[in-house]
Amino acid sequence: MSQGLINILSPKPISFSEFKKLKEEFKGKIKDADSGIKALLEDYWDVPYYFSDDQDGGCWSSVRDAAHLYVLLNYLLYGRPGMPFDTTKFYRQFFEDSHDNIKEFIVNIAAQKPAKLERDVQVDLVLGSIYKIKKYFLENNRIKDIRGASTIIKYMNEELTRQFLSQRYIEECALYCGGGNVLMLLPGGQGSEACRQLEECFAKVSLTAKVAFEFISCTINELFNDYSQKMRALHERIEERKKTKVYPINPDSDLEEIVIDGKKIDFTCVERINSRGEVCRLCSVRDAKYIVITPEGRMAACPSCMRKNMVGKDKAIFYEEYQRVIGRSPKWDVASISDLKDSHGHVAVIYADGNNMGNVVMNIRNPLQNMYFSRKVDYTTKRCVYSAIHKVMRDHARFEAIALGGDDVFIIVPGDVSLEIVNEIIEGFDRSFNYELTMSAGICIAKHNTPLQSMFQVAQAKLKSAKALARESGVKYGTVDVEVIESNISVDLSTSRWALFPTDSLKLSKFINVIKRMKDTKGINRSQLYKFRHAARELKPYEFQLFYAYQTARLSQDYSTFVAEIFGVDPRRFSGLIENPNAHKGKPFVSPWEDIVMLWDCVGGGEDSVS
């Protein structure tokens, strides 16, 4: 395994003396703690665990993961489903200096050496996935309903799964749960029933979210020594289930309330419709059974939309998370998409994810790496997004996060700060993984009343082209592509109409910086930029170059200086157009003025700046 991969799949090494100090500190903390050890361990998720000062290998597990796995293996070997199991005792035992064969097993697994437990048992590896999540979120354009859907997904993924495990097994059975995926290791023979119960449980709460759980059986030794192959087989099973499963059209359940993060959401108080045949006005497909109160008045809603609506009224999970990470709350409470518009009425959908993640996952050799990697990606992504929003908008932060988990970013921000925010997110993410992993993003900027579903589709297509640039050019940095939706334009998402985009984050940084300086330069006039754009569209290249030379001689040479800087050409040789590197495929020149005019309003600064 390359050093780069090791850095991604295991915590940064520390000196053994430093580790010993931390271990003693932790032992002191857990001395009197009863059941809170697990929570205390969360602070040590990025600290490597050394079983001895001469431990081999460059790939260590984190303190949290090694301790979790130790407890889990003890449970699988000595515990019984439905019977009490003292996890605290085994956590304490783990931190004692004594050695046992389970610790030895974990050491070998972490060092990627052959590992064998003397007493091997059958286990069931269960994988669950909430898929087509965006379809579940985006059944209508109401931010509170989308927020509700997002909260329900997170609740099922985390709280509900943990509740399920703690009631029947132990919570440590979850190798990871987050970002729409759940992976758990259960005692042998439990897989089938667990899959059934979890699918039923998830369906009862969300009603229309698509969920599939599958499992494979093997022994502990087989699983840990052939982890990639077992995971591949499990993925194939779940893929088959996803493609085969059919969902009811009008699902309902007798669920009366859910408690999310300690807050009770009561569904019994919602008014019911007595008449039949009315269509839900929120999803426009299912039969309505309830009346929900919205800013537009009373609306007939199906059970699924009613739940999203009720949950979204009360919970805004990403605001709470933002506050925890940044230390202050976003200033604006966003009630609708129009609350996010900039002074030009624009909002931006940002859709981003990590590049080459599948390749890293393919190289994961054991559950410890899986546990660490999924948490690290999730933590890094969230921190980068929140920090970027805070850095660009400071105390005026207003945003809406629709999906933020794993390496997935789907957020809405005002149009005029979108490019800067994306740039900050990508830079932060790339830096955190030391450029071994990078992030690409697609942005769709449009009027605030454009439906989110359509903006998301455009952003998705732009993410694809940004990723293609990352792959084809082999750039070291994350990449971005953007589309601005105006009235009466043709949208061909397979080709780019920009001279600059898709581009990498380094060039985007430069673009933002230059546009900001242009806005602050007196000699640069916005109306002239429109004139150049129009002329470049209408005139033949040599005609335009003559026109441009005349205009800049008359007005200012600053235009050439700035534009040449953006595109990295010699300002003395810049004649208003950029040479097309793919000239053999089409025109010999491309116009830089399209990019500048369209994105002028998408970069803050200058007199038009929005605060």
Binding site: N140, N141, R196, E199, E200, A203, K204, L207, E214, R237, E240, R241, K243, T244, K245, V246, Y247, P248, I249, N250, P251, D252, S253, G277, V279, S284, V285, R286, D287, G358, N359, M362, N449, T450, P451, Q453, S454, A468, R471, E472, I485, E486, S487, N488, I489, S490, V491, D492, L493, S494, T495, G586, K587
Partner: protein, 387 residues
């Protein structure tokens, strides 16, 4: 007969109204949309059209219903035969010219789309053309043209609704349409065309040629969806049965090899939906757990296949669809929701029967599910890969 629709204005078809002022079109035209356009054409030219007339069809009251009224001026009406035959003609889905539906088993290289496709049924899910032969692949869907993934060109059109009483712009009623504007666009020459092709059975070219200009889809009153109709080919190709059997055998061998199956007694074959299919899975509101094998049995039942075959694998996308029936009397124009199996879905069957028996049976089917007269549920054999 093969029919070509040459659009002279953008069109909006089957779009779901996402918010009150915004509609996006889909990139293909279902047969029922063409039938509705023909009906509208007939009604607009009918001497006896009465917008308030209500007729009862199968016990349901309908408005704007086309039926042959057999009145004095009907005998010399140029649309007489079209009017008489409208209920009996069969119309397929119309797709952009020279495109085909991508089967849902196809995967594409994540690193380089030019590496071509891998079919999950007969090949391992990795790109052999990537360095080391283990490149990652991902599922693709949509349409294919010249071996490449294809998208139509869509345009945003913003319009103001008109207040029909004052004849002026209706207050606060700007709406946007994302319409299909071209199937081919040449950036260099500026050449554009918007051409869709499909089939209409049960009419002669002469009967269809009476139509000078058809208006298809929504917002036809503001100029959208105008097209010329031309008949391309009167005769339909009939497939050579021996060639089909040969292709089925080849697929069977490849499928078995790829999946490590050593059972000569069993045969495997696959079908691909070349249009959306409205299937009745028999459950509308029951959220009951079923194993993957139980779901396969549900699929077999929903397909209504009366032959000794089993569903081996399903590669399907199913969504819930609730359309509009503008012929309904009253305010509520919504239809009942249905399970819609998306075009491109592939189903693999396992059987002990010989392939000629399979071909006999499947050849006798018009399609699967409801509304096959309007092109829903049409299928082809899938022999693996791009075929």
């Amino acid at each position: 007969m093969k029919v070509r629709l040459n659009f002279i204005s953008p069109f909006v078809v089957g779009g779901i109204k996402l918010v009150s002022n915004y509609i996006e079109s889909i990139d293909y035209i279902p047969g029922n949309v063409i039938r509705a356009a023909l009906a509208r054409y007939i009604l607009n030219n009918c001497h006896y059209y009465d917008p308030d007339e209500v007729v009862t069809i199968d016990g349901i009251q309908k408005k704007n219903w086309v039926y042959f009224k057999d009145k004095p001026r009907c005998s010399d009406c140029k649309l007489q035969t079209l009017c008489q035959k409208l209920g009996d003609i069969r119309i397929s889905f119309f797709y952009p010219k020279d495109t085909m539906v991508i089967p849902s088993t196809l995967m594409m290289c994540k690193m380089d789309p030019h590496h071509g496709f891998v079919d999950r049924l007969i090949q391992q899910p990795r790109c052999a053309k990537c360095e080391g032969g283990r490149g990652r692949v991902e599922f693709v869907s949509g349409l294919l043209k010249d071996g490449k993934k294809y998208n139509v060109v869509k345009s945003f059109v913003t319009r103001t609704a008109i207040n029909r009483y004052t004849g002026t712009a209706k207050d606060g009623s700007l709406y946007s349409l994302l319409a299909v504007s071209a199937t081919l666009q040449d950036q260099n020459t500026g050449y554009e065309e918007n051409v869709f092709e499909g089939q209409i059975l049960g009419l002669t070219p002469q009967e269809l040629s009476i139509i000078d200009e058809l208006r298809i889809g929504k917002y036809t009153s503001v100029g959208l969806g105008r097209c010329n109709v031309t008949v391309m080919d009167e005769k339909m190709d009939t497939p050579d049965v021996s060639k089909v059997i040969q292709s089925l055998k080849e697929f069977d061998a490849q499928y078995k090899r790829n999946n490590g199956i050593n059972d000569d007694g069993c045969r495997y074959f696959a079908i691909k939906f070349i249009s959306d299919a409205k299937l009745d899975f028999g459950f509308a509101d029951v959220n009951e757990y079923m194993s993957t094998d139980q779901y396969k049995a549900v699929w077999l039942k929903a397909l209504g296949i009366n032959l000794d075959v089993q569903v081996e694998k399903v590669y399907a996308e199913v969504f819930n669809f609730r359309g509009y029936d503008t012929s309904k009397v009253g305010e509520d124009k919504r239809e009942q929701p249905v399970h819609m199996v998306e075009k491109g879905s592939v189903i693999v069957f396992k059987t002990h029967l010989a392939f000629d028996k399979v071909i006999d049976y499947f050849g006798s089917l018009e399609g699967f599910g409801q509304d096959t007269d309007n092109g829903f549920g049409k299928f082809d054999y899938h022999f693996g890969g791009v075929c």
